[in-house]
Subunit: 330 residues, 2 copies
């Protein structure tokens, strides 16, 4: 979580002039995002009454061809009342602008998007009431996205877990934790073989950790960071959210939070019998997905990096819990 | 520039409740400060109309006994119309609060202060008009602080340059750049021997780089980061500001900016003949101060640190310029 690129006030002002948002009043680099730099901007606003925005510079990982999917999805969902930040289009209607290569130094040309600022804070220890609200908003997102036309494959699907596991290698995984190597050896082939093929698909957020939800009390004020959004099994998104919300920091399951999350979801979009039956497997898959991406980051993050890699053992333990306790979703 | 400590929304809310500022609406970790973590907070405000603040957690370097000096200086200057952020006192009137040790993990107890948020952006390439405004504000600060009662010795004075130079050692300095070792060997003893003893002293900011000045156009909206403030030679503060503002990124002197800075300063507080005559030496000293602190950081910053050390050769070259061109201050 860092700001990777220095944008001077002069260059920032010139960038902002490409949008109808008034002139720059304040710009603070914010410590969010692992593959992009973000600034919280204040401007005089297009109406002179002041406005705030998040300016994002895409630094790594993001493929430029995916940006229109992410950014137009925000517009689509916001227009349907979902609490997601709108994309501010530039004066020519573009979803993002390019930073001229001559300003970018060795980093080359980079894309920047301006999005709406939303209030709210990210909780660390969700209550059942908060989980219920998040479940309901996730279901609303799934319904609101039903008529979103663009599609994007899930770049973090089963094939990618397998690729990451192979890239880490059994020795690499064992170096992190011998248990991790065993879990991957025994569970990954099974998950790949049993992965559901016939469940309803649609647009999913695919990364709805508490960090990516802004709340005020029990109210969801923002769903943010859509840079893993894609088209995939809808119930898998609930499983990802379950892995992310329903365990404490010691990976102990929190049954009240789990019940509330699913209740909240079903209050808006009831699960089919097939979806519900698949949740234990989907939960294991979601846990495997984060275990594998974290394992790769763990082995490949330079020691002088600005980000601290997360421990893959957390999701790995949660995977074991789902396998041993399928009844929690019954 | 980073956020060193994770403060969850729940703990942040509890901290904020100790101040009469309403409830938390938003909190973004901001990438400012090298020895503290900072968050830009939005609250409902004590009057329910919304308010913004900077929350600072002191992580390193700052001695707790110095905090009242820094924080009450802000109050003193703000009350006299200087564009500095006021310190928000807690409900019991304290200038700062302590984070309970049980929440702080291995880091132990830490002090936090809440200060006013000010608009404005930091310029990268100051214009003469901006330097003139900064000079005038610096002089106003010096006058406004004349009746500030507390005192604090300059921890980054001549004795500290000598200590840092010795701690780096000639070999360490030469490892950074052979020229740096030569400059220190020849200039530091001379500066120490010739350092003025009889110039007027008072409260100085001592670190007024463009990063520490918020501006809107040619107007100074904020002087920030007073954590090097101390009592020392007043004209030395102008010399520090001169080193920081009057050279371009390639260390080339900018005569128009220099003239404007000094003109702006003297429009509020004319220099005495003695002060003016001392400026070439004070400028060399200011350059030596930053060369030495940067040299030490350069040699002692772990490669996995969240901060990138700055090149000590910039100030070292500026020192050479001052020595060769005393006439720029005539």
């Amino acid at each position: 979580m860092a700001v990777y690129t220095h944008l001077g006030a002069e260059e920032m002002s010139a960038l902002i002039a490409r949008f109808d948002v008034g002139t720059l009043v304040s710009a603070k680099g914010i410590a969010e995002g692992v593959s992009n730099s973000n600034w919280l901007l204040e401007t005089t606003g297009s109406d002179g009454r002041g406005a705030r925005f998040i300016l994002t510079m895409y630094e790594f990982r993001i493929e430029l061809e995916d940006l229109p999917y992410f950014l137009s999805l925000l517009d689509h969902l916001a227009a349907r009342g979902c609490p997601v930040p709108r994309t501010i289009h530039d004066r020519e209607g573009n979803l993002y602008v390019m930073r001229p290569a001559q300003n970018a130094g060795s980093g080359g040309e980079k894309a920047l998007a301006l999005i709406e600022y939303l209030p709210g804070v990210s909780v660390s220890k969700p209550t059942a009431g908060q989980a219920r609200a998040v479940g309901a908003e996730l279901a609303r997102l799934h319904l609101a996205a039903a008529d979103f036309r663009a599609t994007r494959a899930n770049g973090m699907g089963v094939a990618e877990w397998q690729r990451l596991a192979a890239a880490c290698g059994p020795d690499g995984l064992a170096r992190i934790n011998p248990e991790l190597a065993q879990i991957v050896a025994s569970e990954l082939p099974r998950l790949a073989a049993e992965w559901p093929a016939a469940l309803p698909t649609g647009v999913i957020h695919a990364d709805l950790f508490p960090d990516n939800v802004l709340m005020l009390g029990d109210k969801v004020t923002g769903l943010i960071d859509f840079y893993f959004a894609c088209n995939d099994i809808i119930a898998y998104d609930l499983a990802v959210t379950h892995v992310a919300w329903c365990f404490d920091q010691h990976d102990v399951f929190r049954p009240d939070v789990s019940e509330a999350l699913i209740e909240g979801y079903e209050s808006v979009r009831p699960l089919s019998a097939e979806e519900r039956a698949a949740l234990p497997l989907l939960g294991q898959g979601a846990a495997m997905r984060f275990a594998m991406s974290r394992a790769w980051d763990w082995l490949n993050t330079p020691t002088d990096a600005l980000v601290t890699p997360k421990d893959p053992m957390g999701p790995a333990r949660r995977l074991g819990f789902y396998k041993a306790n399928p009844g929690i979703f019954a």
